[in-house]
Symmetry: C2
Subunit: 210 residues, 2 copies
């Protein structure tokens, strides 16, 4: 394995995950992971560009950043690439009006989006809001469209909370895909488009990022 100095030669920017890397979620908002506050501070003092790239889709970027700042991180909203704002850009570009099946905490990200007379469906990690009734409504909206379009903010299988494993958005994406016989468009990691948009925002080429 190449030494770090060698591996980092030519690297100009660093993309950092947030949940499970900078902090662990849980009661009272969560806790910083040991050493991560100082690691971010050191990166920011270095010659490297830093950007945060998350699949968090239960919270708005504002709420997430407020939480991280409370935990001691030097981070601002403009430094975060997240699926909800990325989806809003796509919706605007393609003139799409979504039916939203998302957590209340992230709904504000879609505040500027027209949701009347929907011609697509957007799902995100909705937690308890993944009720049968809400899933059925999303399904019915899709089935009424000539060409059903489904966006999924990430496709994670599950995540860990202090209370145990929790189903993420991926299983519900698969449910709607199967019910409607369609394939969802995933916005968020591991979609290459999502990483590319984070790099674009950082002004760094893929070959120069770690």
């Amino acid at each position: 394995m190449a030494a770090w100095g060698e591996r980092l030669a030519g690297v100009r920017g660093v993309l950092l995950d947030i949940s499970g890397v900078l902090y662990d979620g849980g009661e009272g908002g969560g806790a910083a992971i040991a050493g991560s506050v100082e690691a971010v501070a050191r990166l920011k003092r270095s010659r490297l560009k830093v950007r945060f790239c998350t699949n968090e889709s239960q919270k708005s970027r504002g709420d997430l950043v407020r939480l991280l700042r409370r935990l001691g991180f030097d981070i601002s909203e403009g430094e975060v690439t997240a699926p909800a704002p990325a989806t809003c850009l796509i919706l605007k570009e393609r003139g799409l009006r979504p039916h939203l099946l998302v957590h209340d905490g992230v709904r504000s990200e879609f505040g500027q989006i027209d949701t009347s007379n929907p011609n697509c469906v957007v799902i995100a990690d909705a937690g308890e809001d993944f009720s049968y009734q809400n899933m059925n409504k999303a399904f019915q909206v899709l089935m009424e469209l000539e060409k059903p379009i489904l966006f999924s903010l990430g496709k994670g299988r599950y995540y860990k909370e202090t209370s145990g494993l929790m189903l993420d958005v991926g299983p519900y994406m698969k449910a709607l895909e199967y019910a409607c016989g369609i394939e969802a468009e995933v916005v968020g990691k591991p979609s290459p488009e999502f990483f590319k948009s984070a790099l674009r925002e950082m002004g760094v080429d893929a070959s120069q990022a770690q």
Copy 2:
């Protein structure tokens, strides 16, 4: 196309579907489909054996037969092949104790099954009971097993009610399959095993059935 007389040569038994063939579900239990009561009566007067093969898994066989008799059909519980009793046979054969995610209407079919300390999960069309909490519980039970076993009573995508299209069990089966990285065992149509058990109960070989 061969004439019916020719096509039916050698046929000794007929398997009939129930929902959407004999009756349509809906308000107040549903309504017989025009001509179906008389068609069943004629088949029963003929030399052919008749058996009913359904994926109904919101009602027990008892409740289903009571509904059909009220609509005028000549049918008894012993003539019906349904996923829930077929699943009970499999559970007993393999010494499995299920965690049940099923509609309350069909729970009585599992009355003789040990559900303590579960070592598998059984899901059926649970309707409103497909809450996030109930799905997450089924997911957690599966993830705690060394070798997760999931039975799905049918794998239908959706069905039609007077109020509109309704998600069936299939999408929720896909959700759990994806979350756990497993493949469910489907009990019910279109599983060949399910049709074979119906034929066995009728005492007719597959080549002699229509």
